[in-house]
């Protein structure tokens, strides 16, 4: 009888431990993107200085910023913080050269991505905003003259835009670099009001 009791008591403790473990596991997995100290945003923040878009070092053995970088691609990055206002991203694309943009949140999730094929009449014209900034912009819109820009709501205040320009041959790296730098991503001052 006492053996039975002990067995059930142990089972109960086992279940309690499993329950706590499951809870801790779920919470820690969900919290990881916010807590990881060396995630992509942290690495890029430590690197980026001066004018944006910032050119990332060419992927070569020993000088990678993140794992699995494509050595055929020139990358520039724009860090953004929407606290002061929306971020305007514009670029002129021409010819058949590949340019891709990905808009990523502080925790590294891609919330929008595109290639130069998605440009309108050779132009990329995007404004990254918070939901409140979008509402304010919509209130000011002229109904007869709808805005031409593409508005994207960011899931977090902070984030970054990663710009990829492919160099099909190593000799075309300079062209790709010029293309990757040609995207304007200056933060807007509150001057728009």
């Amino acid at each position: 009888m006492t053996l039975m009791n002990r067995f059930f008591a142990l089972l109960l403790y086992g279940l309690a431990v499993a329950f706590v473990a499951g809870f801790v596991h779920l919470v820690s997995v969900l919290a990881m993107p916010r807590l990881a100290p060396h995630d992509a945003f942290a690495r890029l923040s430590a690197l980026v200085q001066g004018k944006q878009p910032f050119l990332l070092p060419q992927p070569l053995p020993g000088q990678e910023v993140t794992p699995f970088e494509d050595p055929a691609v020139v990358q520039t990055v724009c860090l953004f913080d929407l606290t002061q206002g929306p971020l305007k991203v514009d670029a002129t694309v021409d010819d058949d050269a590949l340019l891709t943009l990905s808009f990523r949140s502080r925790t590294g999730a891609v919330f929008y991505s595109m290639t130069d094929k998605a440009s309108v009449h050779g132009k990329i014209d995007i404004r990254v905003m918070t939901p409140a900034q979008l509402q304010a912009a919509q209130a000011e819109d002229d109904e007869d003259n709808p805005p031409q820009e593409l508005r994207i709501v960011a899931p977090q205040l902070q984030g970054f835009i990663l710009i990829n320009a492919l160099a099909p041959f190593p000799s075309e790296r300079a062209d790709a670099e010029a293309r990757a730098r040609s995207v304007n991503c200056a933060p807007e001052t509150v001057a728009q009001n």
């Binding site: 309690a16 801790v24 969900l30 990678e64 699995f68 494509d70 891709t100 595109m114």
Partner: protein, 193 residues
């Protein structure tokens, strides 16, 4: 008193177990969003806001930046078509079709995503660089430590390696669907030393 101790012990044991599970799962790269096509592995939601929490936690830890969904597709291979690990002691041939795309790149990395230094300074191929033997769209790339005729991708100074096939601006959207193994190149072991 003893009840409190037991309660605390349960809590501590559960927390340790939960964190250990998270550590193991994130390190091992467990993900509920994984599709396979022959040797190639793909995480269809990794480049979107629908990224699964386990993949998100892993990316936060490794700082890897997968292509955004609209930028292109990336396929990873750590094993050959027969299921054996990709070893630097062996020669391989990557042969077969590449899905229709504007550009693609095939890159060789260490298993954790560092570029593998080699005297030829070649880390991968782009669709423009590749020499095609016949009129069809099939590719054939020799992956070996030693120089090979034709398209030669050197393995470099790593004991084991990974191959990543990136399709930029795909002309065919796989969406969340499973990619058939026949749509991608095979990785065949030729011989080992």
């Amino acid at each position: 008193m003893t009840l409190l101790v037991k309660f605390l012990l349960t809590l501590v044991a559960g927390t340790l177990l939960g964190l250990g599970l998270t550590y193991y799962v994130v390190r091992a790269g467990v993900s509920f969003d994984e599709t396979r096509a022959g040797p190639w592995i793909r995480w269809p939601r990794a480049g979107s806001m629908d990224i699964d929490p386990y993949a998100h936690a892993r990316l936060a830890r490794t700082a890897q930046l997968p292509l955004g969904t609209a930028e292109g597709l990336n396929f990873f291979a750590w094993r050959d078509s027969a299921g054996g690990p990709l070893s630097a002691a062996c020669d391989y041939v990557v042969k077969g079709p590449v899905p229709p795309t504007r550009f693609w790149t095939l890159t060789l990395y260490s298993t954790t995503g560092a570029l593998a230094d080699n005297p030829a300074k070649r880390y991968g191929f782009t669709s423009a660089e590749i020499l095609r033997s016949s009129a069809n769209d099939n590719i054939e790339i020799a992956v070996s430590r030693h120089a090979r005729a034709g398209n030669w991708l050197p393995i470099g100074n790593v004991p084991a390696f990974a191959l990543v096939l990136r399709l930029y601006d795909t002309l065919f959207d796989f969406g969340m669907a499973k990619v058939e193994a026949a749509a991608l190149p095979q990785i065949t072991k030729v011989h080992c030393q």
